[in-house]
């Protein structure tokens, strides 16, 4: 008896699935990157989506061609611009797979509001990389790399590799949103620029370069950080990172690599001003040098590398905290975790406290291993 009931029921489940309207894959724009620019009358949104017309069926994906389409649309809000794009390209927009969101220089204000279109949507990707363009976001997304399936993969690789070699501090969507929700509402995003250097990687001979970082506050794009500043920020905020630097020892150039970095930050209140004692420790090794016997000079190289680390860390803190009152290194968490009472004392006027804060930085790289050769 049960079988007579269950079999029609199971058949019904399979049959009913066709009763709802649905979209085929070629009717959906699977967005891989989103560019957001601000204009006088609203937003220009540039989308890079997977081109389903060149693949599937009998046509395999041609990995030597950029299988991505780049389109732009305008609207008063980001959502209305996306809607306009949906009409113009005749596909329903699926932003959930976007791996990269680029903001134009002018769009880098009220970032939290701008990001909310992706954060609030249930299919938004919290792991999408966020970056800022030196000019406009559409400039970045219109660079057509000639290798790989889609240009966005290249851009993601640039950001990932930059972190691996200690040149940038990339942020994914939920990390950037977290920084923007913090008391000073500021963050640092990687800064991308189009370079006309005749690259063979792209169709037009131009390419995208990572030129440093953009300090973004509620007021917008507030300051530019150099790659050295970005490595200082990386050492300050992400334990275990590595970075390379050049020091001059006895008139000779020495390339040093720091790895396994660890920053210890101790805040205090002295004379009514915030004071941060920052100690950066790391392992280091000489990558290449012009010294006749690098092993003999290892103590001097350690000291010089320590000075360079201190300079980079101090530089990023001066440019962000002292100049703008921007807490891009998550110092408020350090204060609170060190002493909730201290946080209560400074939280009411935290931005002003940061502009007057003092930073005492010491760095102690240690060369415990010297590699296979020492001379």
């Amino acid at each position: 008896m049960k079988k007579f009931v269950m079999i029609p029921l199971i058949a019904l489940i399979a049959a009913l699935s066709g009763c709802r309207s649905h979209a085929e894959l070629n009717e959906i724009a699977i967005v891989e990157a989103i560019g957001i620019d601000r204009t006088d009358d609203g937003y220009t949104v540039t989308l890079q989506y997977f081109n389903t017309d060149t693949s599937g069926g009998t046509t395999a994906i041609d990995s030597s061609q950029p299988n991505a389409v780049t389109v732009s649309g305008k609207g008063e809000t980001i959502e209305s611009a996306l809607e306009a794009l949906s009409y113009s390209c005749g596909k329903s927009i699926m932003p959930g797979s976007a791996g990269l969101i680029v903001f134009g220089r002018d769009a880098a204000r009220d970032l939290m509001d701008s990001l909310s279109f992706a954060m609030a949507h249930y299919s938004g990707n919290p792991r999408a990389y966020i970056a800022v363009s030196e000019t406009t976001a559409s400039d970045i997304l219109n660079v057509k790399f000639s290798e790989g399936n889609a240009s966005v993969e290249k851009l993601e690789s640039i950001l990932r590799n930059a972190e691996d070699i200690g040149l940038s501090c990339p942020q994914v969507l939920h990390q950037a949103a977290e920084m923007l929700c913090a008391p000073t509402g500021s963050t640092v995003l990687p800064l991308l620029a189009v370079s006309e250097n005749g690259s063979e990687l792209t169709e037009e001979g131009n390419t995208v370069q990572l030129t440093g970082g953009a300090v973004c506050t509620a007021d917008g794009y507030a300051a530019t950080l150099t790659p050295e500043d970005m490595s200082g920020l990386l050492m300050l905020t992400r334990d275990g990172c590595k970075c390379e630097m050049t020091v001059i020892c006895r008139g000779k150039t020495v390339r040093v690599m720091l790895y396994g970095t660890k920053a210890r930050i101790t805040p205090s209140l002295a004379g009514g001003k915030l004071n941060f004692d920052i100690t950066v420790s790391a392992d280091c090794k000489i990558v290449s040098s012009q010294l006749p016997d690098p092993y003999e000079e290892r103590n001097a190289v350690e000291r010089l590398a320590g000075d360079e680390v201190s300079r980079r860390v101090l530089s990023v803190l001066r440019k962000s905290a002292n100049s703008l009152g921007a807490d891009v290194a998550g110092l408020s968490y350090k204060i609170r975790s060190h002493s909730p009472a201290l946080w209560n004392a400074v939280s009411a006027d935290y931005r002003a406290c940061l502009t007057e804060a003092r930073f005492n930085i010491s760095a102690h790289p240690e060369m415990e291993r010297f590699g296979i050769m020492h001379g």
Binding site: Y122, G124, Q175, C181, W343
Partner: protein, 352 residues
């Protein structure tokens, strides 16, 4: 009248049911970043354990549940208590339906009609009303296994991003909100009240059910609070569905490919909570009013009313406010897990 439920099965079912209330918040409830939440959870579970003691004493030397014991002593008292308890269960079921509907309609079901939600949940409730608590708890083992797997995947994936600097040495951030929060969390432990009915059907070692339930629920909720605070920091105060946001941040491809699997597992936990309430109601009716088919029919009617109320509260949230104020005070739960068992003990002593 011993039943066929294992104590581990019931404890797992109650724990998943409680954790559902943590993962699917009420529409107007917001988590805030801070250490107070750890203290609130710990204190509310200690309070639940303390309030559970009279229930344990009342059920220790009887074979059935609390209401069987009350009915043995005084039919009028058991009838009155049973009626009030049924209302409490109806309120808990409507709240669970509201949470589950809000969670799914805010996420993967955002464009699907409500009828889909009610078809799925209604089917689960009819299963619970007809098959009873043994079938529900056996199903609960599968759901708790899936939930545990989801939690492990989420924890392993987001743990590298957990920044322990976001924890700070403090227990109470805001003295004014501490006590209401503790009472609200305590009031969510409806599962101890369910145990007053379902506990009578446990095969053996039923004294272990609530300690196990409290331990598992408390540990999981503390772990979730740890992840919320260390991964999201200040952003936690702006998230309406923190567990959904946490599982969205998972960097494991299978979670991206099966988009919405996390919501479906949480939804199953919600269905389980509802499905536990229905047999609890049926058990109450059987103990206090009538046995046989009438109790089964009453359970089906109860399930339909619960879903109807959930829909009503979804459309008109203002209607739920007075009921919510009462349940959030923790008084109904305390009445059924502490006052009523004490009354049962007194009646028994008087009769003896």
């Amino acid at each position: 009248m011993k039943g066929d439920m294992g104590y581990r099965e019931l404890a797992a079912a109650l724990a998943v049911s409680r954790i559902f209330a943590e993962t699917a918040p009420m529409p107007d409830a917001y988590r805030t970043y801070g250490m107070q939440r750890f203290t609130v959870i710990a204190v509310s579970f200690l309070l639940t354990a303390a309030v559970y003691l009279p229930l344990w004493l009342a059920m220790r030397k009887t074979e059935g549940g609390l209401f069987e014991r009350l009915a043995d002593g005084n039919k009028a008292v058991s009838g009155f208590a049973g009626a009030l308890f049924s209302l409490y269960l109806l309120s808990a079921a409507a709240e669970t339906g509201l949470r589950a509907h809000y969670y799914t309609s805010s996420t993967i079901f955002d464009s699907a009609p409500s009828v889909y939600f009610y078809v799925f949940v209604g089917a689960a409730l009819i299963f619970a009303a007809v098959k009873g608590e043994e079938a529900v708890t056996r199903t609960a083992v599968i759901i708790s296994g899936m939930f545990l797997l989801l939690l492990i995947i989420v924890t392993v994936s987001v743990l590298p991003e957990a920044d322990t600097d976001r924890l700070y040495p403090a227990f109470i951030d805001d003295g004014g909100s501490f006590l209401p929060e503790v009472l609200r969390e305590f009031a969510l432990n409806t599962e101890t009240a369910l145990f007053a009915v379902l506990g009578g059907k446990v095969r053996e070692k039923r004294g272990r059910v609530i300690p196990l339930y409290l331990g598992i629920s408390c540990a999981v909720m503390l772990l979730m609070t740890f992840l919320y605070n260390t991964v999201f920091g200040y952003m936690l105060s702006r998230l309406t569905l923190p567990f959904y946001s946490l599982s969205s941040a998972v960097d494991i491809k299978i979670m991206h490919r099966i988009n919405g699997i996390d919501v479906m597992i949480c939804e199953m936990a919600g269905m389980l909570r509802l499905a536990l309430i229905v047999p609890a109601f049926r058990g109450t009716v059987r103990a206090c009013f009538t046995r046989g088919k009438a109790a089964d029919i009453a359970a089906v009617v109860f399930a339909v009313c619960a879903l109807g109320l959930a829909e009503l509260f979804t459309v008109y949230p203002g209607f739920f406010e007075p009921m919510k104020r009462l349940t959030d005070s923790g008084l109904p739960l305390a009445a059924f897990t502490a006052v009523l068992p004490l009354a049962a003990l007194l009646i028994r002593r008087k009769k003896a």
